[in-house]
Amino acid sequence: MIETIRSLGRWGLGTFERLGRGHLFLFRTLAGVPEIFLRLSLLVHQLFSVGVLSVFLILISGLFVGMVLGLQGYNTLVDFGAEESLGVLVSLSLVRELGPVVSALLFAGRAGSALTAEIGLMKSTEQLSGMEMMAVDPIHRVIAPRFLAGLISMPLLAALFSAVGIFGGFLVGHGLLGVDDGAFWSQMQVKTDWYDDVLNGVIKSIVFGFVVTWIALFEGYDATPTSEGVGRATTRTVVHSAFAILGLDFVLTALMFGEG
């Protein structure tokens, strides 16, 4: 009994300590961000490996998600004779929810886990410590450019996801099921609001990008420097990111669309 309470206490302390370290890490990373603008080549390099390498996955997934939305949406709408509204349904689902959320989940799996593994390995092979001894702050040199790259890539990837998804919905809706293309696009344009829908979706994806990149980088930086430790950190990145994305999505949705 005592032992249970004790281990609970240890777990609690450990968790709070990690949270504290995670925040200190974030502050130091943010402090390193301005410097990157003096060395854009570092950022460009990371934009490629964090962002561009995720594009293919995002495009394919977006297309299929959109196609499924088209199918499911049509089957529901047609009962009410409202199949002309398919464009609205597809675009609102994607822009408000599925675009930011699904692309963030994919981003965590593709780019986030890669970031954790990369940083964790750099730590376990003493590259980070070596940099420190060469008077180069690894947080500024290694972490900050990756953080900024994640922050920039996420909203762009989410936008791509939504765009391709809408196209997928159109392909199925118009090409396969014969929904009128004029109605599809015009209803969509009328009913999708720039501020309420698009901008809120973008805000969501910026928040997700921030959180996922932060989690991924911190897990790598804080990993136990062994192959097992890095493996566990990579798993944690994906799991914690998924929780964070879905939890935050609820909070953000409640804040944004709560009254409407």
Partner: protein, 267 residues
């Protein structure tokens, strides 16, 4: 006045004492060797000097500055004047050999690329790896990686270099070259060198002073000749590499018999 002054150094890993009251002086322009059985904390000592670890008690002064009282930026300024060769090499694995050696120059100086090119090739020439400049670290052998790391450790022309096991994994020829190189660089570049090593013969060849560490203490210090003549059994055993004697080979532990017996009991 010594370049590095270590006083009453205490350092613990959990409950385990790594150092308990160590005093070391490292003089300018000299090669000081730190020797001791595996796991005594030689690497730990270098990390304490470099300010990556904090002592639990005692002070470490480098060039008159207390390393652990410096602000972050002061510490980084000091580190620019310290070269360190990591036991593992610690090369950056995503860039080739040339860029690894150029890394400190590109980070800390505004030298034009043509000059960096020349400087890097000179350093690589010195360690015999000019031809390997385009290889990636993953394409190097362990010994080669350590030589690249050595070249990198001296690119900024530091005032001191800490070598953690520079000789391990070297064939007899590159070993001889390295011993010479460390010696020559120390004289030509006016360096102060700290060499951590197990290779008694090679180290004794170039070291001006040797410190023997064991179980958290300095067991003996002196010139190689003095140590070889030392009357202490411990020193004799270590310097001659004899298997029997007072130096424990095992990580501190209960006796083997007790351990075996305990298992039988629980089984």
């Amino acid at each position: 006045m010594p370049l590095i002054k270590i006083r009453d150094l205490h350092f613990y890993r959990g409950d385990r004492a790594i150092f308990e009251g160590v005093n070391i002086d490292i003089y300018r322009g000299k090669i000081t060797a730190i020797m001791g059985p595996s796991g005594t904390g030689k690497t730990t000592l270098l990390r304490l000097i470099g300010g990556q670890l904090r002592p639990d008690r005692g002070t470490i002064e480098v060039d008159g500055q207390d390393v652990h009282k410096l602000s972050r930026s002061e510490l980084y300024e000091l580190r620019k004047r310290m070269g360190m060769l990591f036991q593992s090499g610690a090369l950056l694995t995503d860039i080739p050999v040339f860029d690894n050696v150029a890394f400190p120059l590109r980070e800390h100086t505004d030298l034009p690329e043509s000059m960096i090119h020349d400087l890097v090739l000179m350093k690589l020439q010195a360690v015999g790896l000019r031809g390997a400049r385009d290889l990636m670290p993953s394409e190097l052998s362990g010994g080669m990686a350590r030589r690249v790391a050595l070249a990198r450790a001296v690119t900024l022309d530091p005032m001191m270099v800490m070598y953690d096991e520079p000789f391990t994994g070297q064939d007899p020829i590159s070993m001889g070259t390295l011993v010479n190189l460390i010696h020559k660089m120390n004289d030509a570049m006016d360096l102060t060198s700290i060499v951590v090593s197990h290779d008694v013969t090679e180290t004794a060849e170039i070291a001006d002073v040797i410190y023997l560490l064991s179980e958290g203490k300095v067991i003996e210090k002196g010139s190689p000749v003095q140590l070889k003549r030392s009357s202490s059994q411990w020193v004799q055993q270590f310097m001659q590499g004899l298997p029997d004697g007072p130096v424990p080979f095992h990580y501190s532990n209960v006796s083997l018999a007790d351990d075996l017996f305990a298992q039988e009991e629980s089984a």
